[in-house]
Symmetry: C2
Subunit: 332 residues, 2 copies
């Protein structure tokens, strides 16, 4: 079933106060929390939105957290992510920006359940509609990670970046999201590395995961970021240039190192294009907050620092849990 | 066999002087020419480089043009394209730019044949190596289309664009290619339209082929070209914005028209990114020469004219034949 349950002691049911859930497209993670908002149990499964019909969510959640629940009473479950999409459990309509991040739970919807052990709140995503095409945008799941920034600092102001398949950049002003942009960076990289003519030149992305520990790869990555940051209009020609370099450049190393260097360059081109767009109005005197896993955040840190921007990192899991805690508190 | 032979009259063998061949990755086209360089026979097959081993080229060419050949003597065949690649029939090493286009045949190679009916000349491609990564580039096949411009005007000077999967832009100075750049435009469009998250929003490219006859599609296309031409750094976010627009924009038409409008927009984003790079040094008082098929050239003409550039169009087949004629004359 691809699921893990990390704690099943009988004490959980006595301590459990509520349940936090991050339900994405391809997986589901749940945490059991006590009255002090401390995690006392954790479970996950690969039953994301893409694997479930609307009437299968309740059973899947109960399968995962059922053992934690007290014999009587109703336990609240705060859920963020794609479970609240139109194709998910029940649609939690997007809240239009600007939206205060401590008020996400005001847009939550509560699906009708067959049992009374759980009370489920599906949090909404955010949408942006401002007339012209450039300003249409949506997020679902990331808003709760952003809310994590506000949990400790209610008036948080600054620029946050959530790297990924569809990387999000959000401007926060006094605890509210005032605007955001999504960049197709991760998907663009995967398509080019695996399915374009460049697949003959770059080492497959999974094999090149830790390439930035290598000096030649790091240099190729930073150089590509810098080239595109300075001249984003050259993106499409530098893509083909990477293939031509593989054919013509005698100075490239041989074997897997060659493919890793060119993969690092491709990653730099894709991320550089994102930064060229996202950093047009970046402050250089205030850190950009990166929210996400360690590996990808390090890659963005390297790129942003090389471009002269400061960064700080918040772990993605920490952020989403903090955001769900904030939403739970706001519900009470 | 996926081949067509358009003329098989017995007179061909009496009139035939030489054979022109455009041998690409996925197909092969041959023309029989008389002493006045007029086409008197034509044949094609789907046996491109990707379908052939090195020792299969001679038989395939003979299968296609054998009926044209006189009983005695050796007939010259001028061949451009991927047949001269390292993975082709025999490698015709790239000529480095700058290269005069009337001297391509100086780099031709002659594969050893089993019979003596044909004398085959494989024309070389062009390469560009200038130290930094941005300047690595290669072409193979397009140089012969460019040579077609020089056939009538030996001192041709100007900018030429060959739209396609890997679009080429070449600067010609007094009959020589002084530099060129390849843009991954067509491949980028196909990957995004067919394999990315955008596939849910855009009508499949084949269905949308003639979309620019529709006013709404034309407007979406030109608007996208203009947005990216002005702000190429927004390319990656406007890609996702297209998906968000599909989800949020109530003004979009319904049904297939909606998908066609969004496909036109995607095409405009991809071509706009190319133009942003290629037109950095475009002259606005001299026409850009588009070489290629009617449909794609019309799309580029629309985009370039909207950006304030003049264009002229040369048919791709006409150009490659003219280039092969020039190479044949230079050989004598």
């Amino acid at each position: 079933m691809g699921s893990t349950v990390m704690s099943e002691t009988p004490e959980i049911a006595h301590q459990l106060t509520w349940i936090a859930v991050d339900w994405g497209s391809s997986n589901l993670r749940a945490w059991g929390l006590d009255q002090h908002d401390q995690v006392i149990a954790q479970a996950s499964s690969d039953k994301g939105m893409l694997a479930l019909k609307a009437d299968e969510y309740e059973a899947e959640l109960l399968r995962l957290v059922g053992d934690w629940l007290p014999a009587t009473g109703t336990t609240k479950a705060m859920v963020c992510g794609m479970a609240g999409a139109r194709q998910g459990w029940l649609e939690a309509a997007y809240l239009p920006v600007p939206t205060r991040l401590d008020q996400l739970s005001q847009g939550a919807v509560t699906p009708t359940l067959t049992g009374d052990q759980l009370g489920v709140y599906l949090l909404p995503g955010l949408s942006q509609t401002r007339g012209t095409a450039i300003h249409f945008d949506v997020m679902r799941g990331e808003e709760t990670q952003l809310a994590g920034l506000v949990a400790d600092t209610p008036d948080f102001t600054g620029l946050a970046c959530l790297p990924g398949t569809h990387a999000k950049w959000a401007t926060l002003e006094a605890g509210a999201v005032s605007g955001f942009s999504t960049y197709l960076t991760g998907e663009l990289y995967q398509l080019l590395a695996n399915q374009s003519v460049l697949k003959h030149s770059v080492l497959s992305p999974s094999a090149a995961r830790d390439d930035l520990n290598d000096a030649a790869c790091r240099e190729a990555f930073i150089s590509a970021v810098s080239e595109i940051h300075q001249a984003p209009e050259t993106f499409s020609s530098r893509l083909f240039g990477l293939r031509a370099q593989d054919l013509l450049d005698g100075r490239l190393p041989a074997g897997d190192t060659r493919g890793a260097v060119l993969a690092a360059r491709l990653s730099g081109l894709a991320i550089g294009l994102e930064l060229a767009g996202a950093c047009r109005e970046c402050p250089s005197d205030k850190p950009i907050t990166l929210i996400g896993n360690q590996t990808l955040s390090q890659r963005y840190t390297l790129a942003l620092n090389a471009m002269g921007y400061q960064t700080q990192h918040v772990d993605g899991d920490t952020a989403v849990l903090a955001g769900l805690r904030l939403a739970h508190r706001a519900l009470k």
